[in-house]
Amino acid sequence: MNEISKNSSPFYSVLKRELIRMTSRRLYLGVCVILPLFTVFFMVTIFGTGQMENIPIGIVDLDQTATSRNISRTVATVPTFKVTEYYSDMESARKATQQKIIYGYLVIPHNFESDVMAGRQSTLAYYYHYALLSVGTEIYGAFESLLQTLALGPIVTEAVALGVGEEQITTFLVPVNTQSHPLYNSSLDYSIYLTNPFFFVLFQVLILLTTVYVVGSEIKFRTADKWLEAANLNMFTAIVGKLLPYTIIYCIIGIFANYIIFGVMDIPFSSGFLPLNLATILFIIATQAFGVFLFSLFPAIGIIMSVVSMVASLGATLSGVTFPVPFMYPAVYYASFLFPVRHFVEINQNLLYGNYGFAYTWQNVSILFLFPLVTLLMLPHLKNAILSHKYEDID
């Protein structure tokens, strides 16, 4: 070690020292390369085709007439559904939903056909699983659009029989109609919606923890003095030299992930690859800085690892991908700005949805730049903490 520091610049000796450390333990290969690549694979494959299609549902046909069978056939043509079960009573359908054999069911009541023919009030009731909210929403949507048309069936039949044109009667029934355009993700595909943000949510957990570990392990294994010595007691050199190899590996993986997600999987994006990759690199550096910042607060590795693992998991919620953050309590909403992943998701959405331009993301970009700057302020404290040796035995 001493030889290196004598003959070369402090930065180079820290860097070289770190490369030796990295390659000496298989752990680093695991957490820097294998786990991130596994995460790419997981997020890319977990949603299957991404479309919620062929969801198993059931039909309870209590009527058993031509009309009810006709409705059953119509239901079976909806791509969202796959009618896997037919029941003769509501109880067994409900039981099957409870067992998760089906995710919803339609009930055609007794005397349905005769009621419709006679112009009596009749009801088609459907039930959908809402303990599993996302599937439930899909089934709700599919049933609504299908049954609203079916519901007007008797009137249309009546009118057409009287010689009124079908179009005319539809206008009578639905004078005002709606067209919906989900922006960006027009097919409401789950992989378009979740793969990209959730990969980075998981990635930030790994980056945060690994950063804390590589810095903290110096204190833990009592090698921090040698580390600072190699850096000629310059904390900035020590940190940058140490983390740079990881930054490079993460950037390669981040860019690779972008390529797989947007290039291979064909998830739509409005910008070019360059802005996406630049945002990814900025996000990685900000996240590493955030990790160093958290560690510097109380540099006892055992404790701070536990804390960071919880903080990082919060990133999944606060990135705003699942439940929109602005609708959480104000305290939670403002806390979300403290997480690099939140800003990254906002920048990425801007780039993906329409590439609206820097004017709409400069705040997020600036905050990502702030993370390294604020962390710089913590470095003197970290240096003192290391030299004092008082955090070594806390676990």
């Binding site: 997981f42 494959t45 977990i46 949603f47 198993p56 409870q98 067992q99 995710y103 009749s122 088609l124 009731a125 039930y127 809402y130 303990a131 599993l132 996302s134 599937v135 929403t137 709700y140 949507g141 049954l147 609203q148 519901a151 008797p154 009137i155 009546e158 009118a159 009124v164 206008t171 009578f172 029934l173 639905v174 004078p175 005002v176 109609n177 709606t178 919906s180 960006y184 409401l188 919606y193 949510v201 998981l202 923890l209 570990y213 055992g302 690892m305 536990s306 693992s309 919880m310 998991s313 991908v321 699942t322 439940f323 929109p324 609708f327 959480m328 309590y329 939670v332 906002e346 676990d395």
Partner: protein, 397 residues
């Protein structure tokens, strides 16, 4: 007599091992932090974050090109819907889009110029909804609100449309009754996001923190070499199995308390769905905790120091929610992820808990998950014994 003495000595051994394990946990700040922070703080914090539960008043902007009585009526109906709130009536589409880019609104409702005149001519009139899909909940809220307002408006205007029908047929057509449609969401009485997600998260928290505690303890044993003490009485599988049983006993005692807090108290405090039978929840927790302990102890072959395991464990939580089949149907995943569902205790455990707790399922309804958990217990118990035997032998070499 001989058997009795033998039993006595192995019981004594187990008791000593248990005391030792308790001491290890009580003397480590980081383990206590995972337990207290992970269980209590995280359990409460998560609930606090998801308390708003549903989206109310998502901002939308209306581009009213028609500027008629009908379009204003429609705007009022949209505004009255609980899911959305009209942020403003921007004059043109460009201004509306600008608001969307600035994240001020989550959707645009465009009412074309001929909205009113078409209805008056007896033609179908169309308005267009554009909604962001940043979060699916935005899209579904706006969708629900605009469809609701449409139905309401249609009901109001249908009588006016009668004039466009042939006079002789009106009575007969009007006499035909439409079929009414009623949809009922099952098992989530608030229809909220928190009430859907948190029961699953509770089980994941239990799994994750327990895994972290086990890995930190077993990693530390290997790092400090204290694992060698286990070798004093031999490394036969019988003796190793006593170590595994003692450790599992300690973790299960602790987690019966934490489990009571997370699965018993939290749902009451935060009014989450908890229609499950307590007896069945307890019966589920027994194999769940055992399988998780054995799974963690079997994983100890990979844990070489007390912090490194956290690197490998922490990031799985989100993946485990997916693998449980709560957020995305298992049926639609590729076969290898469906298979993984049966390998990691958290996945069937979470699914079974949601079934019992939120859906009121009985023991028979969770049969698949329940049997899976017990099989996991058996397999991972053997693997845990082998793993510990291997670790001890490696350490004394």
């Amino acid at each position: 007599m001989k058997i009795l003495i033998k039993m006595k000595s192995s019981l004594k051994d187990i008791v000593e091992l248990i005391i030792q394990e308790f001491k290890t946990i009580a003397s480590s700040y980081s383990i206590l932090l995972v337990l207290i922070g992970g269980i209590f703080i995280y359990g409460l914090l998560y609930n606090y974050m998801y308390q708003p539960n549903v989206i109310r008043n998502a901002p939308v902007v209306v581009v009213d090109k028609s500027n008629s009585k009908l379009s204003r009526e429609y705007t009022r109906l949209i505004d009255a819907a609980p899911q959305v709130e009209v942020y403003g009536t921007a004059v043109d589409f460009i201004a509306a889009k600008e608001l969307m880019k600035k994240n001020k609104v989550a959707g645009i409702i465009y009412i074309p110029k001929d909205f009113d005149t078409r209805v008056n001519r007896g033609e179908e009139s169309i308005f267009i909804t554009y909604a962001v899909t940043q979060a699916f909940l935005y899209y579904s809220s706006i969708q629900e609100a605009s469809a609701g307002a449409m139905l309401e408006l249609d009901d109001r205007y249908r009588p006016n449309m009668v004039v466009f029908l042939p006079a002789k047929d009106v009575l007969q057509i009007a006499a035909a009754t439409p079929i009414s449609v009623s949809g009922t969401p099952l098992y989530n009485y608030t229809e909220g996001y928190g009430t859907y997600l948190i029961p699953a998260v509770i089980m994941i928290i239990i799994f994750q923190t327990l895994m972290m505690v086990i890995s930190m303890i077993s990693g530390k044993e290997r790092e400090s070499g204290s694992i060698r003490h286990f070798a004093e009485q031999g490394t036969t599988l019988k003796r190793v199995s006593r170590i595994i049983i003692s450790k599992t006993f300690v973790y299960c005692i602790l987690y019966s308390i934490f489990g009571l807090f997370l699965a018993g108290l939290i749902p009451i405090i935060f009014q989450l769905p908890n229609i499950g039978n307590s007896y069945e929840i307890i019966m589920l927790f027994i194999p769940y905790l055992l399988a998780t302990c054995f799974f963690g102890l079997a994983g100890s072959v990979f844990f070489t120091d007390s912090e490194a395991p956290i690197l490998m464990i922490a990031f799985f939580s989100v993946g485990l929610v997916f693998l449980s089949g709560i957020s995305y149907p298992l049926e639609l995943m590729p076969w290898y992820w469906q298979a993984t569902h049966f390998i990691i205790p958290a996945a069937p455990g979470t699914l079974a808990f949601v079934k019992v707790n939120s859906m009121g399922a009985s023991m028979a309804d969770i049969q698949t998950e329940y049997i899976t958990l017990w099989i996991q217990c058996a397999v991972y118990f053997i693997l845990a014994c082998l793993a510990y035997q291997y670790n001890i032998k490696k350490a004394i070499k």
